[in-house]
């Protein structure tokens, strides 16, 4: 297999703040610097894209010195926190915007799906929009004509083909738009987080279609998502971006672990957010009395998670909640009280017990938070910190943690077989 995409020293700078005031004088200054052969005075190298820290310069490098190669036929997931540069990378690859420095070379036609239904015109019928949207995405009319039945079938909108799309339900709209894009005949398919729209069943169908595209048709797929489940299902390789730089590239499983670890390593008081931030302070999280942030446990261990915190101003009804995540998916949530309690000013301690043998081997992340309560349940005020600590359940198998029982959790054995009936 050859190389489908080769990215070399790719960087992209963005100007922050207002564009438009003082641009003429700046443009002149820039131009003057250039004719003297000097560096652009407004483009200093060395600023990374950390969105939390303020800096003197108002130029940020959304991508900095990215290098990688993608083989033909690979499905590659691009992961990273918000603002890590994922969308910028996709935009450059789809030629929507040009890089500031660097070069990308590749083989085969690229089609990109950064948004569902780009260029749909509400007044035109479904059929007219299929042609228009297809052409915008780079298909010839003949090609669309040939695929029309397939597209209509995939979207399931036969009856509404001649109805203006403004009369479509939002689900039909999204289905039609994805159907057009999914039937592009290109060697490289770039997909941004478009699957976030549409219902679960349709998302499954889309993922399936994209899987076909990469596996059976041998096309290269680049896929950005925050849904680790989707990435794991679809991609063999992962690229992790962090603050505009490439931090890891390799097998999907390792890439996801790398990303989740990184998300946790970046933890500090500012990762805890919410309207109750000034009233509740979480001070520590310990797992089985250990306060280190990464713990190794056995499947047979009982797990006790203790959250210590401080209440600064009295809350009438409040409870602390704890959620366990694995590979980006929430496994369950627990509360420290069955109904919200009066919480007085002072220190508090919440203890959560997870039974032994419940969690299958793997890495787990802990998110903590809380809600104030009103008479009907949840109130408007909340506090939440994602991935504040993690633990690993070791790969030790037994009758209570059977190797063959794939899945997220173990259920206590309760089954029987009757032979010869």
């Amino acid at each position: 297999m050859g190389v489908a995409i080769k990215v070399e020293n790719l960087s992209k700078a963005y100007q922050l703040g207002q564009i438009g005031t003082g641009t003429i004088s700046r443009d002149l200054e820039r131009w003057y610097a250039r004719i003297r052969g000097k560096e652009d005075p407004f483009l200093r190298i060395g600023e990374s894209n950390d969105q939390h820290s303020k800096s003197e310069s108002n130029v940020v490098w959304s991508l900095k010195d990215i290098n990688f190669e993608i083989e033909q036929g690979d499905a590659v997931g691009i992961i990273g926190r918000n603002g890590a540069g994922k969308s910028t990378l996709l935009k450059i690859l789809s030629k929507v915007t040009a890089p500031t420095t660097g070069k990308i070379s590749g083989k085969g036609r690229i089609s990109s799906l950064l948004e569902v239904g780009t260029g749909f015109h509400p007044e035109l019928s479904g059929k007219e929009n299929i042609f228009l949207n297809g052409a915008i995405l780079g298909m010839r009319k003949k090609e669309i004509q040939r695929k029309l039945d397939e597209i209509v079938d995939f979207a399931g909108i036969e009856r509404y083909l001649d109805t203006p799309v403004k009369r479509y339900s939002s689900g039909m709209y999204v289905r039609l738009a994805f159907a057009v894009a999914a039937h592009l005949e290109s060697e490289i398919l770039i997909v941004d987080e478009v699957l976030a729209v549409g219902d679960a069943e349709f998302q499954k169908k889309c993922l399936g279609k994209m899987g076909d595209v990469s596996k059976s048709e041998g096309r290269t797929v680049l896929f950005v998502s925050h849904n680790m489940g989707a990435i794991r299902q679809l991609c063999q390789k992962g690229i992790v971006l962090k603050n505009g730089a490439l931090s890891y590239m390799g097998p999907t499983k390792l890439a996801i672990t790398n990303y989740l670890n990184e998300a946790q390593a970046a933890l500090s008081p500012r990762t805890i957010d919410g309207t109750l931030k000034g009233k509740i302070i979480f001070e520590s999280v310990s797992i089985n009395d250990s306060e280190i942030l990464q713990n190794e446990l056995l499947p047979t261990d009982n797990i006790t998670i203790m959250i210590k915190g401080k209440c600064i101003s009295e809350l009438e009804k409040f409870r602390v909640s704890l959620s366990i995540f694995k590979e980006g998916e929430r496994i369950f949530t627990m509360q420290d009280a069955q109904t919200p309690l009066l919480t007085r000013v002072g220190n508090f301690r919440s203890v959560f017990n997870i039974p032994s043998n419940l969690l299958r081997p793997g890495q787990y992340f802990i998110s903590i938070g809380g809600h104030d309560g009103n008479h009907l349940g949840m109130g408007n005020d909340w506090i939440f910190g994602k991935d504040v600590a993690s633990f690993t359940v070791a790969e030790e198998y037994s009758h209570t943690n059977d190797f063959a029982n794939e899945g997220l959790i173990n259920v206590p054995f309760n089954a029987k077989r009757e032979n010869s009936i």
Binding site: G20, S105, G106, H121
Partner: protein
Amino acid sequence: MTNPMNEHEHDWTIEAKTTLFDLKLGEVWAYRDLLLLLVRRDFVSFYKQTILGPLWFFIQPLFTTIIFTFIFGNLAGISTDGLPKPLFYMAGITAWNYFADCLNKTSSVFKDNAGIFGKVYFPRLIMPLSIVVSNLVRFGVQLMLFLLFMGYYYLSGAHIQISWAILLFPLLLMLMAFLGLGAGMIISAMTTKYRDLAFLIGFGVQLLMYATTVIYPLSTAIEKYPKYSWIIEYNPMTPIIETFRYGFLGEGSFSWNGLAYATGITAVLFIVGIVIFNKVERNFVDTV
């Protein structure tokens, strides 16, 4: 063994800088179906859910003609070179509208299409080209209305005669299209950074109409304001409209020099426009 893949390591590249004259015209050709579909979209969506439908294309020039006839023809008494007043104005309005529509729509092409341009790549030149072709459809419809009027006046014995200059019509059409396109592309490229131009263009085009021979003949302007008539003569739209009138109605100041001048200006504006447009197109998403 030679692998065919090695001969061509890659077949496209994306780089930070491109040469000034890399206009990607081949790509534009590859996307020609999109151009036609966009034209169709403009046409169909224009009259969907209206009662009068495509008749709306007629209404605007018709009413403008009536108003011009009353105000400039009857009230102000401006000469129309001996031509029937409605016919004189309609000739000017039809031609001017085509140019003005091309210019107006093209000059806001980045702003109007920021949504699409920010999400999907296709040769950006397709958009302004589709505007010019869309407006051509509209112009064709309005030209038919003008021809109907011509026929009516001819049959009722008005003094009009089609001259040989009507053969220049295809050239005039191209000049109007490319002049509007060229100037529009320059302005559109600059409005991505300096929004002020967007405000200027709105009434600028309107003012420019009064510096073009739409509501008065060139001969009258030269006769009455010999000192300032150069403004009108240097306006590249003036020789185009004068030739248009001369061709269809047999009256107007036709000169080869004027036409050559208009052609020259159009060519320069168009080439400058297309180069600037291509340069801005690569990064405009970041600034718009």
